[in-house]
Symmetry: C2
């Protein structure tokens, strides 16, 4: 019988609080590094050597995993339990990449079949576009795909696109250019459209509900631009939406592809939300490889032994750093230029999922939940914010990512080493520098060390590795949510701002006359910020 218990009611956590807090600098050794390896999917490896976790802490974390039944809850989720308690929904993004347990049937429909069926429909559509069977309204072949979406319909697909673009060029998988329009600031769409040959551009409108303010505004802007260019908008636009949205089966689109309420926006990269644009850009096979990598990671996350389950262990170490050591921020530092926007996606994934202050039943909790997440690629970050990471007054746990091989050919040897070798040497050096620090007679040159980090390493960043990497973080966030006993799958915190913006926009001249207690205040800010109404 699975029970849902707050973290501070969990015996393993109480035990963890009582334990001595080991010094990372003393703990770390070459032997430990070799012993702290956990295999992941697609050839990746998770190394947690440089964390302040000794045998006693690990045992307590193991106890938390058992007490909080983390893997059992994951299995329940994968098999269709209503884990999104607030919205009373199942949580099925794993099912978009493969079957993990018992079939999930909803209203008589096997949902794995549904997701896989949509993936095949996307693949068929994409092949027809690539073959030139499906063309623009003036008969020209499509050369560019532009995704219109925001939040989960933007960050994940965009980060994954950047992550694979160079790989695709090197491996002959580059099929079409892809661009993204997200912000309601029309400067965004105008800048993207200025670089598009509209006759050859296919727009992908992505909104699950079909009511996202930003996305609909950008759709109208794009349609007016297409019309202005003498093109038929419906011949240049497809929709990714739910079957019940106004965009579904709508003659305004060339075709529509479906997701459902059981795949949340920030978890939707492996559904049609990511699938259409990534398949258009790199071919349906690349996207299938990505899903395979993610599915393998999902399978490995079912492993009950925390020593052999990278996502679970990563989650628990993060919890120790957050709830025992009191660290409020986490940095994601990929030593791979292709992962330039991957931290921005993880920022949404983590902060929107676990930035919560009530438990899954809606009761207030008294411990910290999700941290602030940020990051930039190395070595760039070394020349930017690493100063604070090394010598600031707060400790920020680090998540390093690195690959033996690059995505492109073309390297040079300078002072006895290639650029790639320099990149990797810097990564190795940073882990040691953060953990061990350095004494110096000059306090300004002293490094306190004891800055923990984890490392995910792989051979190369290809679609399968990228899928495994994404699934790792999704599963880490899920396990942390279970341990905190929160609902990682709703986002009530985004509603109030939306509501107040709508009040302002519906009021005459932004004066927001009405009954809301803050109308006077809204009007004051509107007076400062809103341009005269058109």
């Amino acid at each position: 019988m699975v029970k849902f218990v707050n973290l501070d009611d969990c015996p393993g956590f109480q035990e963890l609080l009582r334990l001595a807090r080991p010094s990372l600098a003393s703990l770390l050794s070459a032997t430990r590094v070799a012993g702290c390896e956990v295999p992941m999917a697609a050839g990746l490896v998770f190394n947690w050597g440089a964390t302040p976790v000794d045998g006693a802490v690990l045992s307590a974390l193991e106890k938390i995993a058992r007490d909080q039944q983390l893997v059992e809850k994951y299995r329940m989720l994968a098999e269709g339990a209503v884990m999104n308690t607030g919205e009373k929904r199942m949580v099925l993004h794993h099912l978009a990449r493969g079957q993990l347990g018992a079939p999930v049937v909803h209203n008589g429909r096997n949902l794995r079949d549904f997701y896989e069926g949509e993936r095949r429909r996307v693949a068929d559509f994409v092949r027809a576009v690539h073959a030139g069977t499906i063309r623009g309204s003036t008969g020209k072949e499509f050369s560019t795909a532009v995704q219109i979406g925001i939040g989960g319909s933007d960050l994940g697909p965009r980060a994954l696109h950047i992550a694979l673009e160079r790989w695709a060029r090197e491996h002959g998988r580059m099929k079409m250019d892809a661009r993204f329009i997200s912000n309601v600031d029309p400067d965004d769409a105008n800048a993207v459209l200025a670089r598009c040959d509209l006759e050859r551009t296919l727009f992908i409108l992505v909104s699950k509900s079909g009511t996202t303010q930003e996305t609909l505004a950008n759709e109208v802007l794009v349609r007016s631009r297409l019309e202005g260019a003498g093109l038929k908008p419906s011949g240049h636009m497809i929709a990714v939406t739910s079957e019940t949205s106004p965009l579904a089966r709508n003659p305004g689109y060339l075709d529509s592809f479906y997701i459902d309420d059981f795949i949340g926006g920030r978890y939707s990269s492996s559904s049609a939300v990511g699938g259409v644009v990534l398949s258009l850009a790199f071919g349906p096979e690349s996207f299938s490889d990505f899903l395979d990598g993610a599915h393998k990671a999902d399978r490995m996350a079912l492993e009950p032994d925390i020593r052999r389950n990278a996502a679970l262990l990563d989650a628990l170490i993060g919890l120790y750093e957050r709830n025992v050591l009191g660290m409020g921020t986490t940095a994601v530092l990929p030593y791979a230029d292709a992962l330039a926007r991957f931290p921005a996606h993880l920022q949404q994934l983590d902060m929107e999922s676990n930035g919560k202050r009530v438990n899954r039943d809606g009761a207030a909790i008294s411990y910290s939940t999700g941290p602030v997440v940020f990051g930039e690629p190395g070595t760039n970050g070394q020349h930017s914010f690493y100063q604070l990471l090394h010598q600031g007054t707060d400790i920020v746990p680090l998540q390093f990512i690195g690959f033996l091989e690059g995505q492109t050919r073309g390297d040079v040897e300078v002072e006895g080493s290639t650029s790639r070798r320099k990149l990797q040497a810097n990564l190795a050096a940073q882990i040691v520098a953060f953990a061990r620090g350095q004494a110096d007679d000059n306090p300004n040159k002293t490094f306190p060390g004891n800055r923990p980090s984890t490392l995910i390493r792989g051979t190369r960043l290809d679609p399968a590795a990228l899928g495994a990497l994404l699934a790792h973080f999704e599963n880490k966030v899920m396990f942390q949510g279970f341990a905190w006993n929160i609902n990682s799958f709703d986002q009530e915190g985004v509603q109030l701002g939306k509501l107040l913006a709508k009040r302002l926009l519906s009021g005459a001249n932004g004066s927001a006359n009405g009954t809301h207690g803050d109308d006077e205040l809204l009007a004051a800010y509107a007076g400062l910020l809103l341009p005269p109404n058109a």
Copy 2:
């Protein structure tokens, strides 16, 4: 007589600690919003209405400004005092945009004349490139500039370039494309070079010391690519460096432009480091307008009354949030797509300047210094990490930025409002939602409010406004550093990682045999991460 005293030895700070902590939600009113306006340069306005600062707190902050002699120290700095104590250097980035006080003469040279002379040399060179007088090695006109630099030679110029690109297109100021290579990961340079017509590309090598590992490696990579294309590298490359570096007056470059040790990397956007690429892209006049905006902001930051000095007040409010309210992170949220990478630049500016744990004399301090800084443009962030900002367990102070007008034409009206109006309405609504929150019977739909924010607003984002915005944050960071009694101008924290990376790269096969205590550990990570030596 100016004295340097730790923050916790400052009477104003002790007073601040004893004061009641006002509730923002109760404090905030339409009257307060109107009364909390501080004019900035270039038509910008700083509004601090939505901060938990009442009259008593403001008086204590004022006392800190007096006790710590913040404006006096700024004046000293501007007039050439050795404020970078660790490196025993003056700090003169303000002088690159204009004279603020007494002339600064070093080794018989008036440094304002030097910086201004270099700016004019840059302008002349750029005009010759635009006129086609200076051409590539095969006689073709240059159409693209590529900056090769990292950290301060990359983030600022890159963020400013993105910020002005759309403005320049609309105003006929677009002269050349510009791109940036920074990461030592060769995937970065390879991807940029794949999109360049090398015959028409001018590379700007930026390294003050002329010894930056990443930049020199990328230079060799670019030179080999130019040679491979049958081009003469020296005809396609200029240098921005110090007069004493190996790159200065070197026949390997078409020309060289100079900075000196008194302008730190993260403060160098208004020197030739930013000036060359921005002038090539948008013309020397645009860059001059940017400098004028920054210089006006610098002048206004000399104002002793904190109620009329936006940078000073912003600094002190941040200090209150950090050192009294215990908030460890700050988010920068520009409601302007063009400022997409401005938060990444501020992340370096702030975290590298104030992420310090010793005071300016090198003695350990016992209070918190610089926060973690992160951010993304609105409304994008609303669909990403705002969940945690509204309902997470930690409070993150927010810095909003917004403009009445956009940079591009082309907007549409949907449901009674333009996209621009929607953008601004969201900004107004978020400030109110964060500050006031909302009660609800359902705790999951409750917003606790009391989330502080400041707002910088302007009419439009043009070069002058951008200069004023950049200078505002530089001066804010400087004032905070003075208040904390730290040196905001060195970066000793980046040295250890560099050192250990060099040890690894110089060792045979990455085994790093040597005398360093961590060599075994370095070798362990090298074994996991380093590819076989070429």
